[in-house]
Symmetry: C2
């Protein structure tokens, strides 16, 4: 196993000067007196410069196969580099070719590639600069997420993927089955499916949220979060939607909407600060190549130190109505805010992150806590510049009678929610939580414009390669 990583070498974190390291060739420049190879092991956007004597015995015979994408193993001495932009370089005493990458056929040559092209090379794109950076940032953000919650004594709960309940009370779900569809289609006009033959003996689906199960654990362990894949079978071919994506859902007992917003604000700032500290070079790369305004880092820094404002939905509607902007979607009390409205509020009106709270009950889910006005619920959305909504949360209805009544009013199947009502029947407590789409957070911090470019294997209508 490779223990020394190029990232550590470049940061000067290794005392050992005699090194042996494997990696992939980024570039290879040969001249009469000296050859240079830039080597990457995927640990950093910058590669390690290898310096070779063109007459080095182990090099001469393989020099022509040292092309972009080829894998090599080298030994040598680390020394201070005279070249600009790098502190160290490795003077190679031994080089071995592990695997060629035929320049005639290898799809990732040195020249830049469009994101569209790389999307068609899903299995190779992590080798490119852009996707190496994306997946390093994704990894770091996920680890920072766990660290944030564990520093605060939250337990990570693995909510189920396969479910028989429809968490949002709506939504298009994928069905999971072991029934033989071919056989099913060949039967003659049977009147109904025999689910006793299906694996779970009832229709079952991929989860759209882990929140309801998280509430089981918040009402026993107090502070918990889920972080895992969730699913939507929406046939929307956009740059913002995936059929499979990762969602964070913290849930806290003994917590109201204010505590919920406090956690959301702390969380966003923590992640931004962590990435600014630990993925600086990758963020600089995104700013340089994917951010027209070159303001990515300064925006993240300002959000990380901002005080998030709070306005009510009713105030927000009034602000939008007074704005004199001709929105595509007309504004009136009761509408669901569209991205154009959200962006106006956060970018123009506030000029920074803003929570919008107390939404009309009719546009929010059944489990949100009714406010005393009986028109609005204790919900909150966090809006950020460039992105709009990044977090949606609420205090949950903890009053048995009120929740039961809501379930009946909305014509939900009360029997199906019996277990959920039990959480209010026995030792009920005020509790609250929120949901954050992890890919949306990643788009926000990297500036990548297409959600398909921030997840390893994007799944969307018509596409589930591998």
């Amino acid at each position: 196993m490779q223990k020394i990583r190029i990232k550590e070498i470049l940061a000067g974190n290794t005392d050992e000067k005699s090194l042996s390291i494997g990696g992939w060739v980024k570039t290879h420049r040969q001249s009469k007196n000296v050859s240079f190879i830039e080597l990457t092991d995927g640990s950093s956007i910058k590669g390690l410069q290898l310096v070779l004597d063109p007459n080095l015995e182990s090099y001469v015979s393989i020099a022509e196969d040292i092309t972009t994408g080829a894998s090599i193993q080298v030994s040598g001495e680390l020394q201070d580099s005279p070249a600009k932009g790098q502190a160290f370089e490795l003077v190679v005493s031994e080089i071995t070719l592990l695997g060629k990458a035929n320049p005639e056929t290898y799809p990732l040559q040195k020249k830049g590639h469009t994101l569209e092209f790389l999307r068609e090379q899903l299995h190779l794109r992590p080798r490119s600069n852009t996707f190496g950076a994306v997946f390093r940032v994704r990894d770091r953000a996920a680890f920072a997420l766990h660290t944030f919650f564990h520093e605060r004594n939250f337990a990570w709960v693995h909510s189920p993927i396969i479910t028989t309940s429809d968490g949002e009370g709506a939504g298009e779900m994928f069905q999971v089955t072991t029934l033989d569809l071919e056989k099913l289609s060949k039967k003659e006009n049977i009147s109904a499916i025999d689910y006793s033959q299906d694996f779970f003996k009832q229709p079952s689906f991929l989860t759209v949220t882990g929140q309801l199960q998280a509430e089981i654990f918040a009402t026993s362990l107090t502070n918990v979060y889920t972080f895992g894949p969730t699913f939507r079978a929406e046939n929307s071919n956009t740059t913002r939607h995936l059929a499979e994506f990762w969602m964070l859902e913290p849930e806290m007992a003994f917590c109201d909407l204010e505590g919920d917003m406090g956690l959301a604000e702390d969380f966003v700032k923590y992640i931004l600060n962590d990435l600014l500290a630990n993925c600086r070079e990758d963020l600089e790369f995104f700013q340089k190549f994917y951010d027209e305004d070159k303001k990515l880092i300064s925006t993240l820094e300002s959000v990380a130190s901002a005080s998030f404002e709070v306005i009510t939905y009713t105030e927000a509607i009034s602000i939008l109505e007074k704005s004199a902007i001709a929105f595509e979607f007309p504004v009136s009390w009761g509408i669901d805010l569209q991205t154009e409205h959200e962006r106006y509020l956060t970018e123009v009106h506030v000029g920074g992150p803003v929570f919008v709270i107390d939404y009309p009950k009719d546009i929010k889910a059944f489990y949100m806590r009714m406010n005393d006005d009986e028109k609005t619920v204790a919900a909150m959305d966090l809006l950020v510049p460039r992105c709009g909504e990044i977090i949606g949360g609420s205090q949950r209805e903890e009053r048995y009678d009120v929740l039961q009544n809501k379930i009946r009013t909305m014509n939900l199947d009360e029997k199906e929610y019996e277990w959920y009502l039990d959480l209010r029947k026995y030792g009920t407590v005020p509790h609250a939580g929120f949901g954050l789409g992890f890919e949306r957070l990643l788009m926000y911090v990297t500036g990548m414009q297409n959600v398909r470019d921030v997840i390893p294997c994007p799944r969307y209508a018509g596409s589930a390669n591998f």
Copy 2:
């Protein structure tokens, strides 16, 4: 949000003596001069003792509703406790009842419950001592897992759940579909399903392994791991199988079988040491109530400091043949080792953890690296006492021609594995990895005997509640 947790209070980690805290009642003892409530917030197996003056005004009116499972909020002064077994107690000055738990109907009364009974109360069982402990250990193990890999510069890769490839080249998979099954069954004798109408335009399934996708990332980022849900549609109603379970799969470039075993050994020891240090009271609870021999902790300690032995499969067969034990499954070279064989090797022959390596190629997956004898592959299983196999791994076949030949020999669809072969076509490197069933690890460390008791919402044939 509740920031002070009972675990921290009991550990003496709070300087503040005037506290306000919410939780659930475990027990309530009233007497003429003083009342006691044991309060839990799910953060530790031990509750916080509350001491009350029976005449306290806020207490008198609610005293009869302070029953097991009721939720309360209390304020008071923390003081040293005169009672045995606890360092601190809270003298209550104010108490509020948040939610009753009617003793006539609340399923979790003070008396002990069978695991079978609690399994039918999935939504309430985390409130019991046993399942509180299980899910604290599960959380801690998961966090330790991430910490272990990040300390070693591994990136966490979120491999996809929905897949169109069958990773193991075998195995019963769940199909994922948006086709309307009712409609499908009512059509008259159609000859084949029209997958152009399905969401992904082709048959798609729930993943059985993230390994193949992890290889994409190992051959670009060097050291990676997946940790997420995987699925088997096996209709086996046992105490060891689930339809949905979490799996860890590290994958390392520039790594051979020896490096792979080294990582597996380091990993197991790290997790055990972490849990012994951070979940001591929960492990003591398991030892006391679920371990007949009362050796759980000493076994974990000895494994955490053992040097893991290595034997070849061929040696293992010879050992088993010489053992004079009448195994249920007869032993001969070429068989797949059964749990009885594995347990003999680790418990009787070695008396500790042992890697068995170099298995016959015919009983292992297509991607494992062929050894020079052309009869065995560079595979390894880690066997531990009480459990048998806990980890299975291998060095992967990195030679394009050898892998292509294997795919053809096994009649796999070469077209489907084209992307996987590409990883060997361009810059191929030696690489290796392993898989560990997270629930099996949890059964091992807690001593719980049924896999359904170490996962929040167990899914198995006929069961996918919520």
